[in-house]
Symmetry: C2
Subunit: 226 residues, 2 copies
C-alpha cells in the first residue's frame, strides 16, 4: 500500500530527486483520501493540515463571494499538488479546493512535509518553483481582470483551449457557469459573448462543439489593449 503511494509520489515533480526509501518514508505518514465530483477537499479559512497530492482526477481552487458568486483561481490535475504554500507561513487556507471529477488524493501532514523540506533542500526549492508558477499565473490573471474585458478573456481562453486540444474544433469542456467562474463573471455574460463571437463569424458553435472559424480575428480580440 505504501509502495503504492511512493509510486505515485515518483510522478510528482516536487519529489523528483528523492530515492525510493525516502519516498516510502514520507508515504508511511501520508493518508489516502477519495473524493467525488463536487466534494470539497478543504474550505478557505480552515486551518491548514498538510499538503495534498492529487494522484488521480482534477480539482479547482476557488473563492466564493458573499453573494454566492464563485471565482476559479486555478485548476490542478493529477499528477500535481495543492496547498503547498500555506504550510509555510502558518496561516489558514486562502482559498477552497473541490474535486471536479473523481479524485484520489494523498494528504501529507504539515509536520512531515516541512521535515522533508528541511532535510532535502532540493524539495524546498522545487516547492518554490511550483509556488513561483502559481504566483506568476495569479499576477497574469489579476492583470487581465483589471485591464481587460470579459470578451478578451473569453477569446483568450478559447484560443488556449483550442491549442491544448490541438485542433480548431473542440468540445466545450465545461458549462457556461464554470466558464464564467474562470473568467470572473457570470453565466449570462459568457453566453452573450459567445453568441456575439458567433454572429461575428469568429467561431462556430454546434452541439457543444466550438470551431474556431477566424483564428487571427479571435487573436486580435484577445490581444487588444491588454
Amino acid at each position: 500500500m505504501n509502495e503504492n503511494k511512493a509510486e505515485i509520489f515518483r510522478r510528482i515533480q516536487l519529489f523528483a530527486g528523492l530515492s525510493t526509501p525516502e519516498l516510502e518514508a514520507i508515504a508511511s505518514h501520508a493518508v489516502e483520501k477519495r473524493y467525488r465530483s463536487g466534494d470539497v477537499l478543504f474550505n478557505e479559512g480552515e486551518e491548514c493540515d498538510g499538503l495534498y497530492v492529487i494522484a488521480q482526477g482534477a480539482v479547482k481552487i476557488y473563492k466564493t463571494s458573499m453573494a454566492g458568486r464563485e471565482m476559479t483561481i486555478a485548476l490542478e490535475q493529477a499528477p500535481g499538488t495543492v496547498a503547498e504554500l500555506p504550510m509555510f507561513d502558518g496561516g489558514a487556507y486562502p482559498a477552497s479546493v473541490a474535486a471536479i471529477n473523481d479524485v484520489r488524493a494523498i494528504l501529507i501532514p504539515k509536520r512531515e512535509f516541512s521535515q522533508v523540506c528541511r532535510q532535502y533542500p532540493d524539495v524546498a526549492l522545487k516547492v518554490l518553483a511550483v509556488v513561483g508558477k502559481r504566483l506568476r499565473h495569479l499576477v497574469t490573471t489579476l492583470e487581465s481582470v483589471t485591464f481587460g474585458s470579459v470578451r478578451q478573456r473569453l477569446a483568450k481562453l478559447l484560443l488556449d483551449t483550442s491549442d491544448q486540444a490541438g485542433s480548431n474544433t473542440f468540445p466545450l469542456p465545461m458549462t457556461h457557469q464554470e466558464l464564467a467562474s474562470r473568467l470572473g463573471t457570470v453565466r449570462e455574460v459568457v453566453s452573450r459573448n459567445l453568441s456575439r463571437f458567433q454572429v461575428e463569424g469568429l467561431i462556430g458553435i454546434s452541439e457543444r462543439q466550438i470551431a474556431i472559424a477566424n483564428r487571427t480575428g479571435l487573436e486580435r480580440e484577445a490581444a487588444t489593449e491588454l
Copy 2:
C-alpha cells in the same frame, strides 16, 4: 563595507538565523545600488538577475497596460526584499519594480542566493513564508477586484491607512493617481468616490488630510457583499 551590508542583512527576516560570517560571505558577492524616486529597479519581462534587498526607502511592484494604465500590485518597504521568487522557476520578472522614494538596495546575484538556499534550508523555508504572504495578498486583491467595487476597495484602503497611522485623522499619503493605481482604476473615479464619501458624511477632507468621520459607516461600505 561588507560588514555594512551584513549589518543590513541582519534586519531582513529572510536571513534570520544566519551567523555573522555567513552573512558576510553573502555580502561579499552582493552589489549595492541606489535609486531615486521614480527610478526603475527592473522591468517586467527582463531576465531575472537576483534578489533585491531593500535597505532603505520603499518600492512599488506594478504592471503596466498597453494603454498606459498602471496597477500597483504591492508596496515593499525597507527592510524587505523583492523578486524572491522568479529566481526559482527560472522565468523572467513577472512585474516591474520602481522606487517611490530614495532607495538603497543590495542585489544578491541569483547564483549566490540559490546557493545559500541549498546550504541553509531554513532560508529556503523563510523565502517560502515570504512568498506565501505575497500569494495570500494577491489572492485577496484578485477577490476584491472581481467581486467588489472601487467604492469598497477605497473604503477599505482608507480604513487600513487610518489603522496604520493609529489615528482617525491622517494625511493622504499619496496622490489620487497612485491611489487609483493601487485600486486598479483611474484617477477620476477615485476623486469622485472620495467626494461621495465626503458628502455622505463618512469622511472629511481638508488640506490633504483625511478625517474618518463615521467609522462604522465606512466599515459597512468596505464590507458589503465582498
